[in-house]
């Protein structure tokens, strides 16, 4: 359903991603792992049309994404929860969530808002509070909630765990499993390799801008070189 073929991306003469091939089937949770600077965020930004590839193709349900504007890609059902949350800090929590439904014109927005508050009761308590005054974990919940408000069919999560306590990270990653159960396909980019792979179906390992390894998540978890490189075991 989602296919990347021969994708090469760079900033000017500096190439960041080389010849990436990646595939996601509907309903999968895919973990994309790699060290800092491996090109994970660049890959997500390219998928969302925030960067344009130098060559290669990205297709989703028969639509070619490369060359489309970000808002057109969001319209096709993709959504990115960006690294560092990027909330609209001057707006209230509820306004942030409603911004997530920006492209929707159906009458279920109110119901989905209630669903988000059920998922994150803390957001409900703080719905009138400015998003910039939330704690880090609450901000991440708000960012995730904002993405969910667009009812994405493919959700891209960039480094949700950044700067959060392990217990919050676990709670958020458990929610990812719940989100998938509701029918959303998920691509997680994570530094917390073990927690991510435990919940994923398959994983891809990015190294120096290339896919170095891929396979079923349990296999990757048991892979010796991976364990040494990322888990320090």
């Amino acid at each position: 359903m989602f296919t990347i073929k021969g994708l090469t991306v760079g900033y000017g003469d500096t190439k960041v991603l080389w010849d990436i091939d990646l595939e996601i089937a509907p309903g999968e949770i895919i973990a994309l792992i790699g060290v800092n600077g491996a090109g994970k965020t660049t890959l997500l930004k390219t998928i969302m049309g925030l960067l344009s590839p130098q060559s290669g193709s990205i297709s989703y349900r028969g639509h070619e994404l490369s060359g489309l504007d970000t808002h057109s890609i969001v319209k096709l059902g993709l959504n990115l929860t960006p690294q560092g949350r990027l909330l609209f800090t001057g707006m209230s929590v509820e306004e942030n969530l409603l911004m997530g439904a920006y492209l929707r014109h159906d009458s279920d927005v109110g119901r989905d808002l209630k669903y988000i508050y059920d998922l994150f009761p803390r957001l409900g308590e703080r719905r009138r509070q400015r998003a910039g005054t939330l704690s880090g974990g609450e901000q991440q919940m708000c960012a995730l909630g904002r993405s969910l408000m667009s009812r994405p069919s493919l959700l891209l999560l960039d480094e949700m765990s950044l700067g959060l306590a392990p217990i919050v990270v676990e709670m958020l990653l458990d929610l990812v499993v719940e989100i998938r159960r509701q029918g959303t396909t998920v691509l997680i980019v994570e530094q917390d390799v073990e927690e991510a792979l435990r919940r994923a179906d398959r994983g891809y390992v990015l190294e120096g801008g290339r896919i170095a390894m891929s396979g079923p998540a349990p296999e990757l978890l048991n892979n010796t070189s991976l364990r040494i490189a990322y888990l320090g075991l």
């Binding site: 969302m48 808002h71 960006p82 990027l86 609209f88 707006m91 998003a131 005054t133």
Partner: protein, 313 residues
């Protein structure tokens, strides 16, 4: 709070309306200029305050409105109202088209590009014979000072009304989102290019409208006067002093700068710019957010507390 704002607005409008009955021609002249700058500042506020793109070239739209309307009426003998409407519409469309590439730049880069835009427009206008070239355009003397006062006042009110409607609409939220974080705005699916260019076009539209009226009010215009960069600076300073992003900010800023200019002139003709400059520095130092504060600063999240005073409550 909302009712209070409405009452203040109605009272202010009433005072402005009755002002000519109580004062002399000189005051009416000053008040006309204040209304004119209030409208210009409100136009600047749309792109600079609400969208967060500080334009240093908005005078281009003011100048184009004046020069185009003048040229249409003198060269093609159009009635002035028609020349004015066409000039305003053309400038608005031009603002939209120019916005498409220029608004890809951010921060200082955007400011520099708009500065260059205004200078380039001046150079082009000066070299077009149709627009009167460098020697300017004379327009027939019509209307009375009182008439122009009320027209400028009406445009200032229209600018405030447009700002109010935008701020309280979904479109206003869209612009706030762009000001707050443009990448995030794109990520939620906002067509940021379209939204920003529309704001720039509206800003151009209002600036041009003021220019059209200015031209016939002054009855003689030439490019260096109507493309004077200082006009943009005044729009910016007034908006900042009153409160960028707010509805009433640009109007309050125009009032303060207008009155301070007169007071400074009264103190010393020669040192008036110096006094005005010092006054602006003092205001910026002690009220960096402007008098009304930023009604919704896209950035930051001040925790609500006893130190945060907000006009909207």
């Amino acid at each position: 709070m909302k009712n209070k704002s409405l009452i203040i607005a109605v009272l202010a409008l009433l005072c402005a309306f009755l002002l000519p009955l109580l004062t002399n021609d000189y005051i009416v002249q000053v008040a006309t200029e204040i209304a004119m700058y209030a409208a210009l500042a409100a136009g600047w506020n749309l792109i600079g305050g609400i969208t967060g793109y500080p334009s240093f070239g908005n005078v281009a739209f003011f100048g184009l409105g004046a020069m185009l309307a003048g040229a249409f009426s003198v060269n093609w003998h159009w009635p002035y109202w028609l020349a004015g409407i066409v000039a305003v519409l053309l400038t608005g469309v031009l603002g939209f088209i120019l916005g498409l590439p220029i608004l890809r730049l951010k921060g200082h880069y955007f400011s520099i590009a708009t500065l260059a835009l205004a200078e380039a427009t001046l150079a082009i206008v000066t070299n077009l014979q149709f627009l009167g070239g460098g020697k300017g355009t004379s327009l027939p003397l019509i209307g009375s000072p009182l008439l122009f006062y009320y027209i400028m006042l009406a445009i200032a009110c229209l600018s405030a009304l447009i700002t109010y409607l935008i701020v309280h609409s979904q479109y206003g939220n869209t612009l706030l989102a762009i000001k707050s974080d443009e990448s995030a705005a794109q990520a939620v699916g906002i067509n940021t290019v379209l939204a920003k260019s529309t704001a720039f076009a509206l800003s151009a539209f209002l600036g041009s409208m003021v220019g059209v009226v200015y031209a016939i009010w002054q009855s003689y215009i030439d490019p260096p006067t109507v493309f004077e960069p200082g006009i943009t600076v005044l729009m910016l300073v007034m908006t900042m002093i009153g409160g960028a992003g707010t509805v009433a900010g640009p109007i309050i800023g125009a009032l303060i700068i207008g009155i301070m200019t007169q007071l400074a002139m009264a103190v010393s003709q020669n040192a008036s710019s110096l006094i005005l400059g010092l006054a602006i520095i003092v205001v910026v130092l002690f009220l960096p957010q402007g008098i009304l504060g930023s009604h919704r600063s896209g950035k930051g999240g001040k925790r609500p507390g006893k130190h945060s005073f907000s006009w909207r409550g």
